[in-house]
């Protein structure tokens, strides 16, 4: 937990001379990380949808153990990026929202997976 918070702080807000150069060099060396699905809940949404054809909002909410607000904010971000698609319909009188993973979303998850795997491999070889 502590490590995560310090890691976030190392992203320089103001232009600093030396560290800035080092940071950009490091970034170009490694394939760029997909920030959009790096976030925990968004990664969870993508993973859950990768295992199913489609899931409704309430299924996803139960599955990921989160709140309505949180889920809708993050799902919208993924939708805007074209990673998931969203259809709204009525089941009787109840409005339902159904999410699906798009082809772009599946590719993004695969890229993310291979990125994580290459990180682990690098450490094994080092």
């Amino acid at each position: 937990m502590a490590k995560q918070s310090t890691a976030k702080k190392t992203v320089p807000q103001k232009p600093l001379n030396v560290p800035q150069v080092a940071a950009t060099k490091e970034k170009s060396a490694a394939p760029s990380l997909d920030r959009l699905i790096h976030e925990r809940l968004r990664l969870g949404i993508i993973s859950a949808l990768a295992a199913n054809d489609s899931l409704t909002f309430s299924h996803l909410k139960n599955l990921l153990n989160t709140t309505d607000g949180n889920l809708s904010v993050h799902a919208r971000k993924l939708e805007e990026a074209g990673y998931i698609s969203c259809t709204k319909f009525f089941e009787g009188r109840l409005p339902k929202t159904e999410y699906k993973l798009t082809a772009a979303g599946r590719i993004a998850l695969e890229k993310y997976l291979s990125h994580m795997e290459s990180l682990i491999k690098q450490m094994r070889n080092a």
């Binding site: 490590k3 995560q4 890691a7 030396v18 560290p19 080092a22 060099k25 490091e26 790096h38 925990r40 990664l43 969870g44 993973s47 859950a48 949808l49 990768a50 295992a51 199913n52 054809d53 489609s54 899931l55 309430s58 299924h59 139960n62 599955l63 990921l64 998850l109 993310y112 997976l113 994580m116 795997e117 990180l119 682990i120 450490m123 080092a126």
Partner: protein, 203 residues
């Protein structure tokens, strides 16, 4: 140059490595949870639990062993129908064919111990060791649930372990308790775990 030179060659290796592992684990767990969630029907298990309780009450009143066996074979067939129907229904709701993924896993992991159970039952009847049958059934069903549950949410293998524990107890208890073990296993355990699945994984 006041600021300490950044360690370029080793960008905090253990943390990065651990986090990558953690991310992969999270993805896998979420996918597993998502498939289990859709594959197993908690309501189906509750229905099986109810019919098993009824069956154990009827079976307990039978005078002969053959009649007792017939009641449980009938209950077994009813349970299969309920399981098939409820999983099919759930698979339909989320538009996932029953033949793929969780449904197939459950069928594949439960079939071998059930065949073994059938053969052992015939053998035990022939050998006159009918008192061992409830224990053997509970044990074998438990093994099937554990192997099927390996791909599933944690409650499923836990249910299998409970079945195996009950089966073990049944094998080493006086035959007078046999009906109670059957009711506790196929009735109560299905009810309890079915309710947990309905509550935690939505239906």
């Amino acid at each position: 140059m006041n600021p300490a030179p950044l360690p370029k060659s080793q960008p905090e290796p253990p943390a990065l490595h651990d986090r990558a592992m953690d991310n992969l684990r999270y993805i896998r767990e979420t996918m597993e949870l998502a498939t289990a969630f859709t594959g197993i029907s908690g309501w189906g298990e509750i229905a099986i639990g109810v019919t098993a309780l009824v069956a154990s009450a009827i079976a307990a009143q039978q005078a002969t062993f053959n009649a007792w066996l017939a009641v449980w074979i009938a209950e077994g067939l009813i349970s299969l129908l309920i399981a098939g129907w409820s999983m099919d229904r759930k698979a339909r709701v989320i538009k996932m064919p029953l033949g793929s993924g969780p449904g197939r896993k459950a069928v594949f992991s439960l079939t071998p111990p059930m065949i073994a159970g059938g053969l052992l039952t015939i053998m035990l009847v022939q050998a006159g060791l009918t008192n061992a049958i409830p224990g053997v059934w509970l044990l074998l069903y438990g093994t099937g649930v554990i192997t099927g549950g390996m791909y599933s949410v944690k409650v499923v293998p836990i249910m299998g372990i409970c079945f195996m524990t009950l089966g073990t107890l049944a094998l080493f208890s006086p035959p007078a308790f046999a009906n109670w073990f059957m009711a506790a296993g196929f009735g109560v355990l299905h009810l309890v775990f079915g309710a947990i699945i309905v509550r935690k994984y939505g239906g």
